[in-house]
């Protein structure tokens, strides 16, 4: 398998975190701190309709009366919410009409990250190679979305959520907050009040989106929170595969990222949502790194809707994230495939919720947690069946791999059934990367790093297979890099 080889080369070549550079771009900030005026400022900056401002203010009010959750197995210095910038945008007098009008430094940033923003560049590639439409979000705003026109031909709307609020306000209004309500949780409420940008996707009935859609999030500015909001709607019989990638510079301070992703899946529709999260994890002593507090939820609202979450989590100092599926429509299907890698002083508390409400709903959870260094990796998951969810089925497999002697892995599964007609299966394993296996692989010619990479790739193979091909290779490399130097 060429990918394994590539992984090994990459491991040898790369520093621990290759995206740690800072771009020098002229920025516009809102004043530090959070109050109703800041919320108004953000809404005004984006020329939002009045109802949107009210919605934000409502969220802000609710947020003020809420407490930060403390039930997760995470230990971190609390965020001072008044000591943050809530809006940071590259300074640009008018909205760019084409790429030529965008700050070249910004384009270089994405180029460095290996993300193609120039459509002609993508098109000039190998014939027959898959095309990816990209929405690039830089700090608080979306800077460009590619292939918009081509997508429009098939009726697909793919743009920043700010643009959607201006161009398709009724669509946004109909679905925004219907999956993750403003007051859902502390971080979702905060996001609802101050979210600055994110992606919006609408796939019309019966349409299979002609290309993969992706969003790249980049936090650049210092002391700035990133609050993006993504809303994807797959109308009846539609299909879309969507991928998000995230990176940030290396900074000594902790940076806050509190995103909300809402997926609405209607009858016979399917959304495949993949994440490769590589936020800066902090340095070897545990200084700096991103706080990643994210609410992701999919609503299979109608019969035979299907959602598949695939996540590869290698970055962030703190991860608090539970992409979930509400299986409301009869015969709807939810899937969650996860690889979570923690090294150094990283802490992850992540998993999923499968809420079976409809009849004959099915769900599948495959979670692979890898802990190394002094890190802590917790799987937390809920599988529940409502009284009317007869015939509901779930299969959960939760595997943890420990590398070294100073890391921890925890598994916290909650299983609740209000009907006797549901069938839930749970399998879990915890293994240590064995000295014997390493020695065996090394005796055949692999260095220690190569042996770890090969064995770990084997451990996560079930999940990698769920990712779009190109990203599987990327993810495989990422996992290996994240574990560099983990065996002493």
């Amino acid at each position: 398998m060429a990918a394994v080889k590539e992984t090994i080369d990459t491991v040898q070549k790369l520093e621990t975190y290759e995206h740690g550079f800072v771009s020098d771009i002229e920025m516009e900030f809102a004043p530090k701190g959070l109050n109703a005026d800041i919320v108004r400022f953000i809404s005004e900056k984006k020329n939002e309709p009045e109802w949107m401002l009210q919605w934000r203010l409502d969220a802000f009010e609710r947020w003020q009366s809420m407490d930060e959750p403390d039930w997760a197995k995470l230990n971190y210095k609390r965020v001072d919410y008044q000591d943050l910038y809530y809006y940071a945008a590259p300074k640009q007098k008018v909205a760019p009409k084409s790429l030529d009008e965008i700050d070249p430094e910004l384009l270089r940033t994405y180029e460095k990250l290996g993300i193609p923003l120039k459509e002609q560049m993508v098109l000039a590639g190998v014939e027959g190679a898959p095309k990816y439409a990209v929405d690039a979000v830089f700090d608080s705003v979306s800077v460009v979305t590619t292939f918009k026109d081509e997508l429009k031909k098939s009726g697909v709307i793919f743009c920043s959520i700010s643009e959607a609020l201006r161009e398709y306000p009724e669509l946004v209004r109909k679905y925004l907050g219907t999956v993750v309500p403003q007051s859902d949780n502390y971080f979702a409420a905060l996001n609802s009040a101050v979210f600055s940008d994110g992606s919006f996707v609408y796939i019309p009935p019966g349409v299979r989106c002609p290309m993969e859609l992706s969003t790249y999030f980049r936090i650049n500015a210092s002391e700035t929170g990133q609050f993006e909001r993504t809303l994807i709607i797959a109308d009846k019989g539609a299909y879309v595969s969507y991928l998000e990638g995230c990176t940030a510079p290396m900074r000594d301070e902790n940076q806050l990222h509190a995103a909300v992703v809402e997926l609405v899946v209607l009858e016979d529709a399917e959304i495949k949502y993949s994440t490769v999260q590589n936020w800066y994890p902090g340095d070897a002593e545990g200084k700096g790194g991103i706080y990643n507090f994210v609410t992701k939820r999919a609503d299979c609202r109608e019969p035979r809707a299907k959602v598949s979450w695939t996540q590869v989590e290698t970055g962030s100092a703190i991860t608090w994230k539970y992409p979930s599926c509400i299986l409301r429509g009869d015969d709807s299907v939810g899937e969650f495939y996860s690889i979570a890698v923690t090294n150094g002083h990283q802490q992850a508390d992540t998993g999923t919720k499968m809420i079976h409400l409809g009849k004959n709903t099915r769900s599948r959870i495959i979670s692979k947690g890898i802990s190394a260094g002094k890190s802590s990796n917790t799987y937390r998951g809920l599988v529940s069946a409502h009284a009317r969810a007869a015939g509901a089925r779930n299969f959960t497999q939760c595997d943890s791999l420990l590398i070294g002697k100073t890391c921890a892995a925890h598994t916290v599964p909650y299983v609740e059934a209000d009907t006797a007609k549901a069938q839930f299966e749970h399998e879990a394993t915890t293994t240590r990367l064995s000295e014997d296996q390493l020695f065996y692989a090394m005796q055949r010619g692999l260095s220690q790093e190569e042996a770890v990479a090969l064995l770990v790739n084997g451990f996560v193979r079930d999940v990698l297979q769920e990712l779009p091909m190109e990203f599987a290779v990327e993810a495989q490399k990422l996992v290996a890099i994240s574990l560099e130097g983990s065996v002493g």
């Binding site: 060429a2 080889k5 064995s434 020695f439 692989a441 090394m442 005796q443 010619g445 220690q448 064995l455």
Partner: protein, 249 residues
């Protein structure tokens, strides 16, 4: 040529090998026989470079190259192959991937070009056929759920593909029925070559009926106490190790 000189090895502060000296000329097959606990497997692990096997004195060289100051994978690239008594299971990694990754890692370390995928597949197909290994089996994760005989055949397949200069077979006959023993032995015999040496570690004479050694050495309590020709195996089978135990004391 493998030269071992006065090799002294401890594991967890217990001395296992106590000044072992042994030469295996290139092109020859030597056998090490001895009672349980004599240090047979320790010898294999030490030469391969396993951690916790601490060399406190002595030396070991392969074709003049010092083995002991090299890392495990560097020894492998230098041409040393240890066939495991209990081959490890590698979940999620297809056998083909594992072997090809190892082969190319060795080649890279030696400054050679990688073997292309088609060439690798072609070679593998031929070797697999001679060992009665189905190609479909090589698409499965290495050794996971394989029988004892299948695992040993995979060990022989790997040695045939990696083409080492020196082979150490650690109790290769353990867990094999008579048919599997035949296939495995034939595979090993096919690898006998004027430019390759072998050290066969075994407790029983049974394996040596199939792989006839040029010399047999008897290892007792961390030292070679007696050496002789292939006839020594049958003598041991008849009389056991008792006569040598006194010599070690």
């Amino acid at each position: 040529m493998l030269n071992i000189e006065n090799l002294t090895v401890s594991v967890d502060d217990k001395t296992i090998l106590k000044g072992l000296t042994l030469d295996v000329p290139t092109g020859e097959v030597h056998a090490i026989m001895g009672p349980n606990g004599a240090g047979k497997s320790t010898l294999g692990y030490t030469l391969a470079g396993r951690s916790n096997y601490e060399v406190t004195a002595g030396s070991a060289t392969l074709n003049g190259e010092d083995l002991l100051d090299k890392d495990v994978h560097e020894r492998a690239a230098a041409g040393l192959y240890l066939s495991f008594q209990y081959p490890l299971e590698i979940p999620g990694v297809p056998a083909l991937t594992f072997i090809r990754t190892a082969l190319n890692a060795q080649r890279k370390l030696r400054g050679e070009d990688e073997m292309s995928a088609p060439e690798f597949l072609k070679t593998t197909r031929e070797v697999a056929k001679s060992l009665k290994i189905d190609m479909d089996m090589l698409k499965r994760p290495l050794n996971v759920g394989f029988s004892g005989g299948e695992k040993k055949r995979m060990e022989v397949l790997q040695m045939a593909l990696l083409k080492p200069k020196f082979l150490i077979l650690d109790e290769t006959d353990s867990g094999l029925d008579i048919d599997a023993l035949k296939v495995v032995s034939e595979g090993v015999n096919a690898l006998r070559a004027p430019d390759r040496g072998m050290l066969v570690i075994t407790h029983y004479q049974r394996l040596l009926d199939h792989i006839t050694p040029d010399r047999i050495h008897i290892l007792v309590d961390g030292r070679i106490v007696h050496s002789g020709g292939p006839e020594l195996a049958h003598e041991l089978e008849a009389n056991g190790y008792d006569q040598y135990l006194g010599e070690a004391a």
